[in-house]
């Protein structure tokens, strides 16, 4: 979770943080105000309690012990004390319920907006980090923003408490109050210094814990490999090292937390001691009575804790800014206030209605790519992108893109579909320039199957349909050669596929993805190397079925003869450039690379 160098591009300053929080609060302002009022009562009641107890002792001190002592004023005060305690009981419950409702709603809104933008906004969308890292935006950063909102709710009530407490104390003796309360403000400094460091330790500890659990998971996920390699001891030694790192972070956290608690408690004790010390003189001078001590001793501990809260306030504010920055980086080109957009959440009752899919305005006649250049991310071991690619796909054609590994086949189709940004060149649909390929190349215009398709932990049926109508299911399954698999899978279409499809074989995942693609009507079908998990016979059957039953235009990445031999047009890539293109027989005659690829396939 290191700070990324280009985080400054998404800088969110203090004012913006405040504005964003305000916009989030404005989603349900009544709920927020209700929270403020309720929590203010929760925080003020202890001041009232301390005051009542002190008043009780003031009255008790006046009582002369013995039979017939006049206790009515004392009992009266005790009655008030009891009433406040009972009131607190009810107010706290109401405040708590309203608070979790508030936090639940704001969290839901933030998460919805993040996901909504990633899933549906126009433009090319790539995650800045791994999906797991992106999920922590949804969890940890949302949590940070929620804490900020909590800080606003609490802050109001706590400020009131400080004012009331200090006022109560000032009434007893201004100088004593000044001398004892002033040092407590040091708590603000102490906490504001130490709490960010505690968080650093906590974060380190979370990371260290994740490393420990990931490692255990990986070790036992690969237990066969570990045993076969006879490397059990090395694995245990590594776990030990990870454990030591975690222990260090954990102890650092404990130490600092104890330090803050220590300073806090000692401040209370010192202040109490000071009250006693200075108070002793006032008592002798007759300016102070026992009840006044009781008041001070009752108020001081909570006052110190409350001031500590304000010490953390600035850090919370800053942290929230960073959380918004990280969200901004995840959403790349979104406006700063995107996470705070107001949108229906359907937390209770009905979910917001789905928009019907738009009908196809203009069927594909011709797709043209002119001078396209694109880079392939920054992944380890991935060879380059493509440069200056020109190609044309006409309606009904079966076009194959072929080449060696790393020649840029995937990059080309992904850039064409807007899944990767392209640096130069243009894409024309029926002669018209496509401005935003990412939102243009979707059903009903085009549909796509990735080389390593992502399935979702749900049933096979839900994966194939992904929102399409049930009536498309049968044909899609049949065309994708998935029907034989259904017989094998115990529950047929109702089989759960597991996280990312782990319960299916590689070929089944691939066929499911193809079925998913065919379950939506599209003019252009783009297949990125389905051969990696399909055997030759299945692949052949798939192409046969497609040409027999669909009037589809296909753009296919493949090096198999099954695909190449039925191609109307073949594009040979090498080193990110188009080496040659044309009908296969012509290419076999004039292109050495095509001949080599064709021959190697034969071996």
């Amino acid at each position: 979770m290191t700070t990324h160098p280009d985080l400054h591009r998404y800088r969110v300053d203090g004012r913006q943080t405040f504005a964003l929080a305000r916009r989030i609060i404005a989603y349900n302002p009544a709920l927020f105000v209700l929270n403020m009022v309720l929590w203010a009562s929760v925080y003020l009641l202890p001041a009232a309690m301390a005051w009542t107890v002190s008043e009780l002792f003031r009255r008790l001190e006046l009582v002369t012990p013995g039979p017939g002592a006049e206790l009515t004023p004392v009992w009266l005060m005790l009655g008030v004390f009891a009433a406040i305690r009972v009131l607190r009981f009810g107010v706290f419950y109401a405040a708590f319920l309203k608070f979790i409702e508030l936090i639940g709603t704001t969290g839901a809104l933030l998460r919805r907006n993040l996901l909504n933008y990633l899933l549906t906004a126009s433009g090319t969308r790539t995650l800045p980090d791994t999906p797991a890292e992106a999920v922590s935006r949804f969890r940890d950063d949302v949590e940070d923003v929620n804490q900020y909102i909590e800080a606003w709710v609490d802050g109001f009530g706590m400020a009131l408490f400080v004012l009331v407490s200090v006022w109560l104390m000032l009434r007893v003796d201004p100088l004593l109050t000044l001398l004892t309360v002033a040092p407590l403000f040091l708590m603000i400094v102490v906490v504001s210094r130490l709490s960010p460091r505690i968080r650093t330790y906590r974060r380190r500890m979370r990371e260290a814990t994740a490393r420990v659990t990931d490692f255990i998971g990986e070790t036992f996920g690969a237990v066969g490999a570990v045993k076969l390699a006879g490397r059990e001891e090395q694995m245990v030694a590594h776990l030990r090292r990870l454990g030591e790192t975690r222990q260090k972070a954990a102890l650092g956290d404990v130490l600092l937390t104890e330090l803050i608690r220590g300073v806090n408690t000692n401040m209370v004790f010192l202040a109490t001691g000071l009250v006693l010390l200075l108070g002793a003189r006032l008592v002798v001078g007759g300016q102070m009575v026992v009840a006044d001590f009781v008041l001070f001793i009752g108020l001081l501990p909570r006052l110190t804790g409350t001031l500590g809260f304000f010490g953390d306030w600035i850090a919370t504010h800053r942290r929230t800014g960073v959380a918004f920055e990280r969200m901004g980086r995840l959403l790349t080109d979104a406006p700063t206030d995107e996470p705070a957009r107001h949108a229906p959440l359907g937390l209770r009752g009905e979910l917001p209605a789905l928009l019907p899919q738009a009908a196809l305005a203009e069927p594909l006649r011709e797709l043209e790519v002119r001078g396209l250049s694109a880079q392939y991310g920054h992944e380890v071991g991935a060879s380059g992108g493509v440069q200056d690619v020109n190609l044309t796909v006409r309606r009904g054609q079966f076009v194959v893109v072929t080449g060696r590994i790393g020649s840029g086949k995937s990059t080309l189709v992904r850039a064409l579909l807007g899944l990767l940004p392209h640096q130069r060149g243009e894409i024309l649909w029926n002669g018209e320039r496509v401005v935003d390929p990412a939102s243009f190349f979707v059903p009903p215009r085009s549909s796509y199957t990735a080389q390593l398709p992502g399935l979702f932990s749900d049933t096979l049926r839900e994966n194939v349909l992904s929102g399409s109508g049930e009536e498309r299911l049968d044909r899609a399954v049949r065309l994708a050669q998935l029907d034989t698999d259904l017989a094998q899978l115990g529950q047929g279409l109702n089989t759960p596929v597991g996280a990312r499809g782990v319960k299916l074989s590689g070929g089944q995942v691939q066929r499911t993805a193809v079925a998913r693609m065919l379950a939506r009507d599209a003019d252009l079908l783009v297949f990125d190397d389905v051969s990696s998990a399909l055997d030759a016979r299945t692949e052949s059957a798939l192409w046969d079925a497609l040409s027999r039953e669909l009037d589809a235009t296909c753009l296919v990445v493949s090096h198999r003869r099954a695909a190449l031999s039925r191609a109307d047009w073949v594009v040979v890539l090498g080193g990110g450039r188009v080496l040659d293109q044309g009908p296969l027989p012509e290419l076999l005659e004039r292109s050495a690379e095509m001949r080599a690829l064709w021959a190697e396939e034969a071996d």
């Binding site: 008790l60 001190e61 012990p65 013995g66 206790l71 004390f81 305690r85 706290f92 708590f96 319920l97 979790i100 709603t105 998460r111 549906t120 969308r125 999906p131 659990t213 036992f220 490999a225 076969l228 490397r231 059990e232 090395q234 245990v236 030694a237 776990l239 222990q247 102890l251 130490l255 104890e258 004790f269 109490t272 002793a280 008592v283 002798v284 001078g285 007759g286 009575v289 359907g346 992944e379 380890v380 060696r404 590994i405 899944l419 979707v442 059903p443 796509y448 990735a450 992502g454 399935l455 979702f456 932990s457 992904s466 929102g467 590689g506 998913r516 939506r520 998990a533 030759a536 071996d603």
Partner: protein, 606 residues
């Protein structure tokens, strides 16, 4: 989750004698830390004693101050200074105790985690089939962390809170027997009630966790499959799915916090009554002249010394139960023994001869045999091409060589010695296996190759990579062998080559190789073939072959069918024998389509 719930689990619970073993586990890990623990106890005792004195000092001050102008200023000042000194000392000792407790906890449990992992790794594969990695994470880290909380918190919180509560109760008894009795009953009732009520929160909390795991799991999957979602125009559909999952989470989130709030509510209610009662008693006793005003205040102050520890204790009681359950599960795991006892003999140097002598095997006593009476002998340094349809027992046969399992009957011999007589570590060090699916870790390239062994020099790792033909790939890595290897960035061919490099680093005498069955791109395949040749040279090898080209390089050929040897012999002989299955395969492939080598095998081999 809890073992107590299912009758089946209850039946499996260890017999009573095992609780002694459970305690032994505890003792084993705490014994080396006994001095730390004694220091901890001393700190807690001292701090509690001082802590109990603080309200006494306040009470004496109040009584002194009551005298107003007649008060003894010097005495009051002394009291105030003593108060400050005691208070600061209490705080310091508490902090030290907390730190010590955490230290003891982490040290003991880190040791336990390592031992447990080592132990689990030593178990046989039959045992591992029963457990998912997720479950083991829960056992090793979840259970042990529950235990670590117990170690570190129990001492400080439970022991400390117990002491404080006890001390406070004693103080009440000393002031007045009836008040002492009353407060003691009150404390007992409160503890009991809070412990009962806390259970209300357990189930909703579990549901909330589950539902939050589902929520973030949903998000992660969609983000991992972002291209699929977007290119299929299914964004709105998945967003709607998300809102549905989120609605469920919201519901469970509210329910679980509401349930947990019940505990606070109860505590607030009970203590409201408690404080009112104690104040009434104080007022009554003072009015009757039994106690001083200072003592009345003392009673009120001590009430908070009852409230705090009761809160702590009722919280910790839950953890205590959790820790006990964890400890018993850990004890169970530690009691498991591998079905594959290690022998004592070592393999002699050089490539050994490999022989199967009437070997039969079934995975469990009541299942069908997977191998039936398999016998063959592979001379040292030769390569065996293993053919057969899916499910004919090829993989199982190789698993017996590497001793992932032992034969149900017969013997597997390496260099003339039955594998069961060989030391397991020695055997595994000399027999290397490359399976079709290569396990990669989310770690650096070198850690992936060496299995996190820091002893192997980087140069050696790099050399192994170059030898298998990954030199160019290595040169393209930003930090060389230290570069993290993100899963998914490697092609199938590259993964296979990495597995070859792993094996080369160990220089084994026997290699078992399950050739990739899916077709790789031609260039990668050429590299792979070259690397394979280098890897197998001078080693005894079994290759589960999917391409005729690979089989063509084998010295011996074995065809398996339904667990039985259909054909075994030198490749040239089999090729020359027109009746052999291998010869039939060669004939069929001569006129066939290039793609179908594997399909042919599937069709032709019985």
């Amino acid at each position: 989750m809890t073992a107590e719930l299912s009758p089946a689990a209850a039946a499996q619970r260890p017999p009573p004698g095992d609780s002694a073993r459970t305690l032994a586990v505890l003792g084993r890990y705490l014994a080396p830390l006994k001095w730390w623990m004694l220091t901890l106890a001393a700190l807690l005792l001292a701090s509690t004693a001082l802590n109990l004195n603080l309200p006494q000092l306040l009470a004496r001050f109040v009584d002194g101050a009551r005298l107003g102008a007649d008060a003894d200023l010097a005495a009051l000042t002394r009291l105030a200074l003593t108060y400050i000194a005691f208070a600061v000392a209490v705080q310091l000792m508490n902090a030290a105790a907390t730190y010590l407790g955490a230290r003891v906890g982490w040290q003991a449990t880190n040791q336990l985690r390592a031992d447990l992992t080592g132990h689990l790794l030593s178990l046989d594969m039959a045992e591992h089939k029963e457990r998912t990695p997720g479950e083991l994470i829960e056992r090793i880290d979840g259970d042990v962390t529950a235990l670590s909380n117990f170690f570190s918190q129990f001492a400080v919180r439970v022991f400390g809170a117990g002491l404080l509560l006890l001390g406070a109760l004693v103080m009440f008894w000393r002031v007045n027997v009836w008040i002492g009795l009353g407060v003691t009953l009150f404390a007992a009732l409160t503890l009991w009630a809070m412990n009962r009520v806390r259970k209300i929160g357990v189930e909703p909390t579990r549901r909330e966790r589950e539902s939050s795991a589902q929520l973030y799991g949903y998000v992660e999957e969609r983000l991992a499959g972002l291209d699929d979602v977007r290119a299929l125009g299914a964004g709105e559909h998945h967003l709607r799915g998300f809102l549905q999952v989120q609605r469920e989470f919201f519901r469970n989130f509210l329910a679980s916090w509401k349930a947990r709030a019940t505990v606070w509510q109860l505590s607030m209610g009970l203590f409201a009554a408690g404080y009112v009662a104690i104040l009434s008693a104080a007022v009554g006793l003072y009015a009757a002249g039994t106690i001083t005003l200072g003592t009345a205040f003392l009673l009120y102050s001590y009430m908070s010394m009852v409230e705090e520890p009761i809160d702590q204790l009722s919280q910790q009681l839950q953890d205590l139960q959790k820790a006990a359950a964890s400890l018993s599960r850990i004890g169970e795991l530690l009691a498991l023994r591998s079905e594959l006892p290690s022998g004592t003999q070592e393999l002699s140097a050089g490539a050994p001869e490999l022989a199967f002598d009437r070997v039969s095997f079934r995975y469990s006593p009541d299942s069908e045999p997977v191998l039936k009476d398999v016998s063959f002998s592979l001379p040292a340094g030769q390569m065996l091409g293993l053919l057969g349809r899916t499910g004919s027992g090829k993989t199982t046969l190789t698993r017996l060589v590497s001793r992932l399992y032992d034969p149900s009957a017969g013997a597997v011999r390496l260099g003339g010695v039955p594998t069961t007589n060989l030391s397991l570590t020695g055997l595994r060090a000399r027999v290397a296996v490359v399976s079709q699916d290569v396990q990669v870790f989310q770690a650096s390239v070198r850690d992936n190759l060496t299995f996190f062994d820091p002893q192997v020099p980087d140069e050696q790792v790099a050399a192994a990579l170059r030898e298998v033909g990954l030199g160019d790939w290595l040169d393209g890595l930003a930090e060389g062998v230290q570069t993290p290897l993100p899963t998914g960035s490697l092609s199938a061919g590259q993964q296979q080559l990495l597995a070859f490099a792993r094996v080369l680093l160990r220089d084994p005498a026997v290699v078992i190789l399950d050739e990739p069955s899916s077709r790789l791109d031609p260039a990668t395949e050429a590299t792979l073939t070259a690397a394979m040749t280098r890897l197998l040279r001078g080693r005894t090898a079994i290759v589960i072959a999917h391409r005729l080209e690979t089989v063509a390089r084998a010295d011996q050929i074995l065809v398996l069918g339904a667990g039985e040897v259909l054909e075994f012999g030198a490749r040239e002989q089999l090729a020359a024998d027109p009746k052999s299955q291998y010869a039939a395969l060669l004939r069929a492939s001569a006129g066939a389509d290039e793609e179908s080598a594997e399909a042919l095998m599937e069709e032709l081999l019985v």
